[in-house]
Amino acid sequence: MSELIFERNSLNEASWLPELGEPEEKILSQVPEKFLRKKEAGLPSLSELDVVRHFTRLSQKNFCVDANFYPLGSCTMKYNPKALDSIASMDSFSQIHPYQEESGVQGALKVLYEMQTFLCGITGMDEFTLQPAAGAHGELCGLLMVGAYHRFKKRHKTKVLIPDSAHGTNPATAALCGYEVVQVKTNAKGHVDLEDLKSKLDDSIACLMMTNPNTLGLFEEDILEIAKSVHQVGGLVYYDGANMNALLGVCRPGDMGFDIVHLNLHKTFAVPHGSGGPGSGPVGVKKELIPFLPEPRILKTGDRYTFEASAPQSIGKLRSFYGNFGAIIRSYGYIKALGKEGLKAVSENAILNANYLKAKLSDFFEVPHAGHCMHEFVMSAKKQKARGVKALDIAKRLLDYGVHAPTIYFPLIVEEAMMIEPTETESKTTLDEFIQILRAIDKEITETPNIVLEAPHSTPVSRIDEVTAARQPNLRYRADSSRPATPSFPVPRPEQSANCCEPIKG
């Protein structure tokens, strides 16, 4: 662990502050007594160079997709082309203000309007809002519209159906919106169990929330029948767009019978979202639901783009101003640059890469659902657990080899689950290295299990107490705390402390 900047005082006074133009007493005399500090502010006293080195060192500890392979995939961080950052930083986008007159930001409104049109085309929906700030916010938007729609139709709906393989945000959103969550089972092939779904359908069903491909990476082949059955009881069908990376230009949720769709621009459309965003979760709807969309909406009349807020059934405003514009610009650039064929190639390559890994890794990992997968697949570390090493240990050991840990223990229905999503941008060389690394770890489990059980060895901190970290996080620095001083010099570099293994990849 490195010291905090507050613990690293090297000068007697803060040399980076400019000289005051007036005597200090004169300035302070203008400030009312009650606002004056009684104690020193506790700011670190460092030179510019010390500050630069401190933050550069911290940034080098960051495990990033620019340096390492991330089998977490689009769900968390696929590679985002750098050109899109340059576009989003252009003055014409970054220097405009949301309070400017519509007439002065016609270009920005055009981008937003066209983006809505692109997303309609990609998903097969009739209209989009770009307001929601992230995926779960999009789900909230969607479920609020479900409620508004049923109230308008004077239907009393109390339940939301959700498959047991779903993302945790789905039941959380449904519960937050006041619905009872009813779980739908997954059958042995890894698909929604149609019989179980039908047995749970009645007039109380407000909607079914699902993702396709599902979280096992499998395409729901019964989707037309599923959507039809839910519609028959007056329910709506909601598409969680977290797995859209598999479908670009291949097929469209709107054609599968989905009524509401949210997309995660920060998963599928090249918006970086490490450390929490900002993301963007646009929501698309079919014609019948357009009146319920949040406002303002962006409309085009002739050549003019305007914000409109006049629909009486709208669920109202969902986000300050108009969503995360900087994120939307990146996705707009991504879609424009790739075009129809390029987007299709994204999904095709994502699917190809996942299937390559699935086939190769099934040599020594159990893969519970046979056949082709979409952009990701779930394997089980059951065989490894029988030798005393869990999915968690393997994930930690991967860090020593310079690979980010994949999602583990999700979906909940697979024992010792390890979810692998390579994404479209990884080369065959990288995929082969990943296979080789997992094979090496599998060998270690038999020959030197402790090296896996005690991993990671080469990261700045080794295995942490995750339960305590989650339940009693120590997030705030106090100058007067009695915490032991951290040894500071020399700060060990991660490479130097990697002494127990010979990583295949540097």
């Binding site: 779980q183 869990k390 223990y409 909940l412 995750e466 339960v467």
Partner: protein
């Protein structure tokens, strides 16, 4: 394996053994396998009064956090403090050392209405949690 034939079960996978009007509660072997490695047990406060089917405590595994429901109504008189240091007892010994809490039953008849072991074995793969 201890003798579990006299236990009664809730559909939410809790087992109950009754001695006088004191019910001891844990989770079934099937349940501990399903939730996999337990990493934290948030024990109920002793003295708390719970109603049947009300959430009494939380077990956190590597997969997720799970509510544990009171299978019978009454006052929680004791919680298994050993679990705060060794949460994995729930996995290693679900019917003995890994018991969760004891309830002084306000209505011991509720015990009889719970599932027998044979009934539980029939429904456990379909029951929810």
């Amino acid at each position: 394996m201890p003798d579990t034939s006299k236990l009664r079960y809730a559909e939410t996978h809790e087992w109950v053994s009754l001695s006088g009007n004191i019910a001891t509660v844990g989770i079934s072997d099937h349940a501990q396998k399903e939730i996999s490695d337990v990493v934290f047990v948030e024990l109920p406060k002793e003295g708390r009064v719970v109603k049947q089917k009300e959430s009494a405590m939380v077990i956190e595994s590597v997969k997720a956090a799970f509510d544990i429901y009171a299978p019978v109504s009454g006052k929680i008189i004791k919680a298994n403090q050993a679990l705060s240091g060794k949460p994995d007892l729930v996995n290693r010994s679900p019917y003995e050392e890994g018991w969760l809490f004891q309830i002084e039953c306000s209505d011991p008849k509720q015990f009889q209405s719970l599932l027998s072991e044979a009934d539980y074995n029939n429904v456990k793969h379909h029951a929810g949690h």
